[in-house]
C-alpha cells in the first residue's frame, strides 16, 4: 500500500484536519508502517463469512411515538458562547 503525502492530505481533508508539513511527513511514515503490518489480514480465510458489526445479536428497539421529556433550550444553549436568543450560532456556510 503506497501512502503518499497527497493521500495523507486527501484523507486529512475528508476528516476536517489541517496538517503541518511535519505532520504529513510523520503520518505518511506511520500509516505506511501500519498498512504494511495490517496487510496480514488479507491472509485470513473469510470466504463465505458474513461481517460482524457487533459482538452480540442486536435487535431494533422501538418505543411508542409519544412526546417525552427533552433538554431545555436554555440549558442546551448554556454550553456555548456562540449563540443567539434561541439558536446556536455557527460559522458561515458560503
Amino acid at each position: 500500500m503506497d501512502v503518499t503525502p497527497e493521500l495523507v492530505k486527501k484523507v486529512a481533508t475528508n476528516a476536517r484536519l489541517v496538517l503541518t508539513p511535519d505532520e504529513i511527513k510523520r503520518f505518511q511514515k506511520e500509516l505506511s508502517e501500519m498498512f504494511e503490518k495490517f496487510a496480514i489480514l488479507q491472509q485470513a480465510n473469510t470466504k463465505n463469512t458474513k461481517p460482524s458489526f457487533h459482538p452480540i445479536d442486536i435487535k431494533n428497539v422501538t418505543r411508542k411515538d409519544e412526546i417525552g421529556k427533552c433538554l431545555d433550550r436554555e440549558e442546551a444553549l448554556s454550553l456555548t458562547k456562540h449563540r443567539t436568543d434561541k439558536y446556536f450560532k455557527g460559522p458561515k456556510v458560503i
Binding site: 484523507v11 476528516a15 503520518f27 500509516l31 461481517p51 459482538p55 454550553l79
Partner: protein, 471 residues
C-alpha cells in the same frame, strides 16, 4: 472492604461528612504526585446530603458513603468531562451517565474524573490530550500506569479508603491498566452495562466496568452498574445475577489455556507467574485444557485497529467547535472553522486514529480493510464459541510484560505501542466478559492474569478470581 464500610456507615457509626473530606484530602495529596484526577466533584455537598438521609432515616444503598471516581470519558452532571481531550475543555454535561446515576442512587459519593488516553486512544495512558498530565505508575513513577483507564487504575491502587473506579474498555483499557497497577479490573459483556453518557470511542466495542483493590469490591461495582437501560438500545434485558456472593470453588471447572498467549513475545516472569496460578487452581480441582485461538491472536490487532478507528473517526466528527467544548472565533467558512478547531485541539494519537479510520472507510478501500476486518471479527467470535464448548473459562496473561518506563515507550513506533493490546483485543472484539487479577510480580512490578468467560457469564470469571485470590 466496601461491604463492611457500608454496613458501618448505614448504622451511623461513621461521621460521613468528616470521612468524605478526609478521603478528598488524601486523594488530593496523591494526585499532586501521581496525576490521576482531572476534575474534582463537590464532595462536601454530596456527603452532607447523605448525612441528612442518615438523620431522617432514609439512608440506603449498596455504596452508601463509598467514593467513586469516574473515567474522564463518562459524563457526570456539572463536572467537566473531556475524555482527557482539549477539544472538550469546559464541557459540563447537563445529565449523568446511567452508570454514574446508578452509583449515586446506591449512595455513592462521586469524587472526581480520572485521566485517560485522549478518547481512549492508547495502551499506556501516555496519549493524554493537550493540557493534561500523564498518570504515573503507583509502584514506580518512572513507569506508565497502562491505559487507557490509567488514572482509574492508579487511583484504585493508591486511594486508601473505600473506593471504586469506573473505567471503560474498547480494546483492553480496563484490564491492561489493572494489570500494570496491580489491581482488579472487570470488563463486562458488551451490552451488560449501559453506555448512555459515555463519550463514544467505538460503539460496537465500548464497555464500562469497575476497577478496585479486591475482587469483592469490583464485583459489587459491577452489580450496581449492570442491567438494561432504555437509554441504550444495545443493553441486554437478561436479569443481573448477584456478583458478590459467588463462591470461589473451581472443583471440576475446565480452564482453557490459550496456547498463543504464552508464546515468545511474552515476558518469562509473566508467563511463569500465570502458569503457576493455573497450577494452583488445578490443585483446587480445576482441569487444564490447552486451547488454540489462531484468528484472535494472529489477526486481532489489525482487526481491532481498523474497526475501532473506523468507528472513532465518525464518532469524533461531532467535535467541531460548536454547541459545547473548545471554541474559537467564528471566522472563515464552516469547513475552515471546523478544521481549525479540530487541528488545534486534537492530540497526535487522535489525529493518527482519525486518519486511519477515515482511510479504512473511504470508497475503494472499504472492502479491503473495514469489511475484511468485520469478517475476521466473525471468525474470532466463532473461534471463542468453539473454545467454550470445551472449557468453562479461558486464562491468559493480561498484557505481555510489566509496565515499561516512559523512556522505553518514547522509543516505540505507534505500531509497536499497539502490541501492548495483543492479548486483550480478541475478547473485546468478541464482546466477552474478562477480568484481570493480580498474579505475582516481576521485580517490584505487578503482573496480571486475565480470565475470560462466555457472554453474560460474569459470575464465572468472578468465581475463578475468588478461588485464586482466596487460595
Amino acid at each position: 472492604m466496601i461491604k463492611k464500610f457500608v454496613k458501618e456507615a448505614l448504622s451511623g457509626k461513621i461521621d460521613i461528612v468528616a470521612h468524605a473530606l478526609k478521603c478528598l484530602e488524601q486523594a488530593e495529596k496523591i494526585n499532586q504526585e501521581y496525576h490521576y484526577i482531572t476534575e474534582w466533584a463537590d464532595v462536601e455537598t454530596q456527603a452532607k446530603k447523605l448525612a441528612e438521609q442518615l438523620k431522617n432515616g432514609t439512608a440506603k444503598g449498596k455504596l452508601f458513603g463509598v467514593m467513586v471516581t469516574v473515567k474522564d470519558g463518562i459524563c457526570v452532571k456539572g463536572v467537566e468531562t473531556h475524555a482527557s481531550s482539549a477539544i472538550l475543555k469546559g464541557y459540563k454535561p447537563l445529565f449523568n451517565s446511567t452508570v454514574v446515576q446508578r452509583c449515586i442512587d446506591e449512595g455513592a459519593i462521586i469524587l472526581g474524573k480520572t485521566v485517560q488516553d485522549e478518547f481512549g486512544f492508547g495502551g499506556f495512558a501516555v496519549n493524554v490530550g493537550k493540557g493534561f498530565q500523564k498518570p504515573l505508575n503507583p509502584v514506580d513513577k518512572k513507569r506508565a500506569t497502562g491505559g487507557s483507564s490509567g488514572g482509574a487504575a492508579g487511583a484504585a491502587a493508591l486511594f486508601d479508603f473505600p473506593h471504586i473506579a469506573l473505567g471503560e474498555s474498547t480494546g483492553g483499557s480496563i484490564v491492561n491498566p489493572a494489570a500494570l497497577c496491580g489491581v482488579v479490573g472487570i470488563c463486562p459483556t458488551y451490552g451488560r452495562v449501559s453506555r448512555y453518557g459515555l463519550l463514544d470511542y467505538s460503539n460496537s466495542l465500548d464497555k464500562i466496568g469497575p476497577l478496585a483493590k479486591t475482587v469483592e469490591d469490583a464485583a459489587l461495582g459491577l452489580e450496581v452498574i449492570s442491567g438494561h437501560d432504555s437509554h441504550d438500545s444495545t443493553t441486554s434485558d437478561q436479569a443481573v445475577p448477584g456478583y458478590t456472593d459467588v463462591p470461589g470453588v473451581v472443583q471440576g471447572l475446565r480452564i482453557g489455556i490459550v496456547k498463543e498467549a504464552f508464546g515468545e513475545t511474552i515476558n518469562n516472569d509473566v508467563r511463569k507467574a500465570v502458569l503457576e496460578a493455573v497450577h494452583k487452581l488445578e490443585q483446587h480441582g480445576a482441569r487444564k485444557i490447552e486451547i488454540s485461538l489462531p484468528y484472535g491472536m494472529t489477526y486481532g490487532i489489525p482487526t481491532y485497529f481498523l474497526l475501532s478507528t473506523a468507528e472513532a473517526s465518525t464518532n469524533l466528527a461531532k467535535y467541531c467547535g460548536m454547541r459545547y467544548g473548545a471554541e474559537e472565533q467564528l471566522t472563515g467558512v464552516y469547513n475552515d472553522y471546523f478544521a481549525r478547531v479540530r487541528s488545534n485541539n486534537f492530540g497526535d494519537e487522535a489525529k493518527r486514529r482519525i486518519l486511519l479510520g477515515t482511510f479504512a472507510r473511504m470508497a475503494g478501500q472499504r472492502d479491503a480493510f473495514y469489511t475484511k476486518a468485520a469478517q475476521v471479527r466473525t471468525k474470532i467470535i466463532e473461534e471463542y464459541e468453539q473454545a467454550f464448548k470445551q472449557v468453562d473459562v479461558l486464562i491468559t496473561p493480561t498484557v505481555p510484560m510489566a509496565s515499561p518506563t516512559f523512556e522505553e515507550i518514547k522509543k516505540l513506533t505507534p505500531v509497536q505501542c499497539y502490541a501492548i493490546d495483543q492479548i486483550t483485543v480478541a475478547p473485546n472484539l468478541a464482546g466477552l466478559p474478562h477480568m484481570s487479577v493480580p498474579c505475582g510480580k516481576t521485580g517490584n512490578l505487578p503482573i496480571g492474569m486475565m480470565i475470560i468467560a462466555p457472554h453474560f457469564n460474569e459470575q464465572k470469571i468472578i468465581q475463578v478470581a475468588n478461588a485464586w485470590t482466596h487460595q
